[in-house]
């Protein structure tokens, strides 16, 4: 059993070499080494087991047991565009299908001059960007600590993209990155890799969108690295609405420069099994971040969020609110660590995780953790798990709302605190509808 798990059939040494031999584009030596290091790390440790503390509540055995197809997506396959473009990011959308950045389907009319949105392999070869890519790719995220990140690094290819926002450039239109599974193969794997460099004083709003209505099995193994320089501002919305038989394992790693501001909201509602590791590091003074999220799961879905907010420098503030709504036999894990390093004085850190269980069979494991080594800080954290409040429900009933409508409304109200953060009406409407619809469907059945 154990050997079967540690040497899964899909991700073999041969498969690793075969994958890259199919890609004719030459890569610089440093990138080749990075991939090899990623592969070596993954080959050494294999997929994580529940015996490891970081994976205690998330069993990836179903993913390991699935045989995936590592061949690349057909470059010319037609794209189901319905879910790709959001009204607010018109002419500002990068499209990815499987392991391919589909420039033909991407639209950049609203993206200002100087902003680069380039295939990561091309960027590594382009003298204009090779240095910045070499410097940051694989250095913001820790691929040694996470086998899935190591795997993504090993298979780093043209499914990746560099987004470079030059000094003082402010993108007025949000930039949307839409990731679609490759529909032309059975059980495909995609390794999305995004490197974002926001130079001094720049501003970017990013929508990272994984959406599929497909019922097919596939695996998204994504890594996003974001570097914010002095006074840069990045708003980052991640939407994980993968198909219901999908596996989604992703890492987001963010390095905050002096006085920068990073505000992110993650919505996790798709996939059979999802895991999101998010790490924000305060690498300089005066920076601020908000790291919020909502997970909404039902049936047999499993979702896991592991977050690390690392206050390495003084005078920074972080605010985190994660909410969960669980129905059916679903399970959720929230593990949030806040580190306040020895000299990170005047840190202001706050972390909250709240969960609403709509069924008796749903289960959540929540663990907020604070590790404070500095002495002049303001920190707070807390977690809560609850059910629909009967007094609230009665109140709504006395105003004429039937119990199902009342429950629905209270659940909607619970989610609203996070959904309200989203500034895009079209997405907000979709989310509100799916929050309400999902519950409606349950009450009708």
């Amino acid at each position: 059993m154990l050997t079967e798990i540690s040497t899964p059939e899909t991700f073999t040494e041969e498969a690793f070499h075969a994958f890259h031999s199919r890609n004719v584009a030459p890569v610089p030596t440093w990138l080749e080494s990075l991939r090899k290091n990623g592969w070596r790390r993954f080959a050494d440790v294999g997929f994580p087991s529940v015996k490891e503390e970081e994976w205690k509540y998330t069993n990836v055995a179903p993913l390991i047991k699935t045989r995936f197809d590592l061949r690349d997506a057909d470059n010319t396959s037609s794209i189901d565009s319905a879910s790709l473009y959001c009204a607010e990011a018109e002419n500002s959308t990068a499209v990815f299908v499987g392991n391919r950045f589909r420039e033909d389907a991407s639209k950049f009319g609203a993206v200002p001059d100087g902003v680069a949105i380039v295939d990561i392999v091309k960027a590594a070869n382009d003298p204009k960007y090779s240095e910045v890519v070499r410097q940051h790719l694989g250095s913001v995220v820790d691929y040694v600590a996470n086998p899935f990140t190591a795997l993504n690094t090993a298979f780093l290819s043209s499914g990746g993209v560099l987004i470079y926002v030059p000094r003082d450039v402010k993108l007025e239109t949000p930039l949307s990155l839409s990731f679609l599974p490759d529909a032309s193969r059975k059980a495909p794997v995609a390794f999305p890799r995004v490197l974002i460099i926001a130079e001094q004083g720049s501003e970017l709003t990013l929508i990272e969108n994984y959406t599929s209505s497909s019922d097919a099995t596939y695996f998204t193994n994504a890594v996003v690295e974001i570097v914010l320089h002095d006074n840069a501002r990045v708003e980052h919305l991640k939407l994980q609405r993968e198909g219901k038989e999908a596996f989604h394992v992703a890492s987001t790693a963010v390095a905050l420069g002096p006085n920068s501001f990073y505000n992110t909201t993650t919505i996790n509602m798709g996939a059979k099994l999802s895991r999101h590791d998010i790490r924000v590091t305060f690498a300089a003074e005066g920076a601020e971040c908000r790291v919020d999220g909502l997970y909404l799961v039902t049936d047999d879905q499993h979702t896991d969020t592991h977050s690390v907010i690392d206050h390495a420098k003084p005078n920074c503030s972080s605010h985190q609110l994660y909410k969960g709504i669980l129905d059916g036999r679903s399970r959720a894990v929230f593990n949030g660590k806040i580190f306040v390093r020895h000299d990170a004085q005047k840190t202001d850190a706050m972390q909250t995780n709240k969960n609403l269980l709509l069924s008796n069979e749903a289960r959540v494991d929540t663990k907020p953790q604070l590790e404070i080594l500095a002495d002049d800080v303001k920190c707070a954290h807390g977690a809560a798990v609850g059910q629909i409040d009967e007094e609230e429900l009665f109140y709504l009933q006395t105003r004429g709302l039937p119990p199902d409508v009342g429950r629905n409304l209270l659940t909607y109200g619970f989610a609203e605190e996070i959904v309200a953060k989203i500034n895009f009406d079209s997405i907000k409407r979709q989310l509100n509808e799916s929050v309400l619809n999902r519950l409606q469907a349950q009450f009708e059945s």
Partner: protein
């Protein structure tokens, strides 16, 4: 409109109401008074259908129908309204959103067309005048962060929107300063007419200076022990509830109840 006959109710196995009889006609205002623990709030909650209260005996007929067989939301759609002593906060749901949902739920029940957000906004603006409510409170979450007075006004606003036939005000005066009390009472009076009825549950007489009852019923230990006109409330105010105990020789004291 409302006929309560020999009503017994308990919560967690404790019998709180021990044979209440009450008859309320259209156009009437009835005050239910009594000391703490006498069962007056229980009576209000039983009429609204709170699931924690179990009716063990008796019946309640509302507009010819068995009220106790209806769910709380059915009662509401049939025109029964209770203003809560402690209104509940509903985070994440705006006041306007909530009121429109409730209003349209009732319209649907009556076979009338629902109002869209714009039409409803006009209606809400009008009704908000009844309780001199600030428009900014409409877009805030229901009761969240509202002061005690704002919460009570919001209850009356809900009443103004839902236009109930029978309103039960549960200690609506508690926690109100004199100005807020006047506004709330004034709102209630505007909503009362020949086709509506009210049950005003209160510990103190002061609310009844503003909402003048036709009848006053005094509860003690789950029974109505005194009944009279509005002057009974004044007498209670002067003499206190201890006076009841002292003079309560027979089961009905000086009252006219025929238990």
């Amino acid at each position: 409109m409302l006929e309560i006959r020999d009503l017994y109710a308990s919560v967690d196995g404790n019998e709180i109401l021990k044979g209440i009889n009450l008859h309320v006609k259209k156009g009437e205002i009835h005050a239910i008074m009594g000391p703490n623990g006498s069962g007056k709030s229980t009576l209000a909650k039983v009429l609204a259908g709170h699931p924690a209260y179990e009716v063990t005996r008796g019946e309640v007929i509302y507009e010819g129908k068995n009220l106790l067989e209806m769910s709380p939301d059915e009662r509401a759609r049939e025109g029964v309204f209770m203003a809560f002593q402690y209104p509940i906060e509903v985070p994440g749901v705006s006041n306007a959103q909530f009121l429109r949902l409730a209003y349209n739920e009732k319209r649907r029940h009556l076979g009338e067309e629902e109002l869209d957000p714009l039409e409803f906004k006009d209606l809400l603006k009008q009704r908000a005048k009844v309780v001199e409510m600030d428009a900014s409170l409409m877009n805030r979450s229901v009761n969240e962060g509202f002061s005690g007075g704002e919460k009570k006004r919001n209850e009356i606003l809900q009443m103004a929107v839902l236009e109930p036939r029978l309103s039960i005000l549960d200690e609506t005066d508690s926690g109100l300063d004199i100005d807020a009390l006047r506004i709330v009472a004034n709102g209630v009076n505007q909503l009362h007419g020949p086709n509506t009825a009210m049950l005003v549950v209160t510990h103190y007489q002061r609310l009844l200076n503003y909402i003048v009852p036709d009848f006053v019923h005094v509860l003690s230990q789950g029974r109505i022990v005194r009944e009279g006109g509005k002057e009974l409330a004044l007498e209670l105010e002067q003499k206190g509830y201890d006076w009841l105990k002292a003079s309560n020789g027979g089961p009905n004291g000086l009252g006219v109840t025929a238990n």
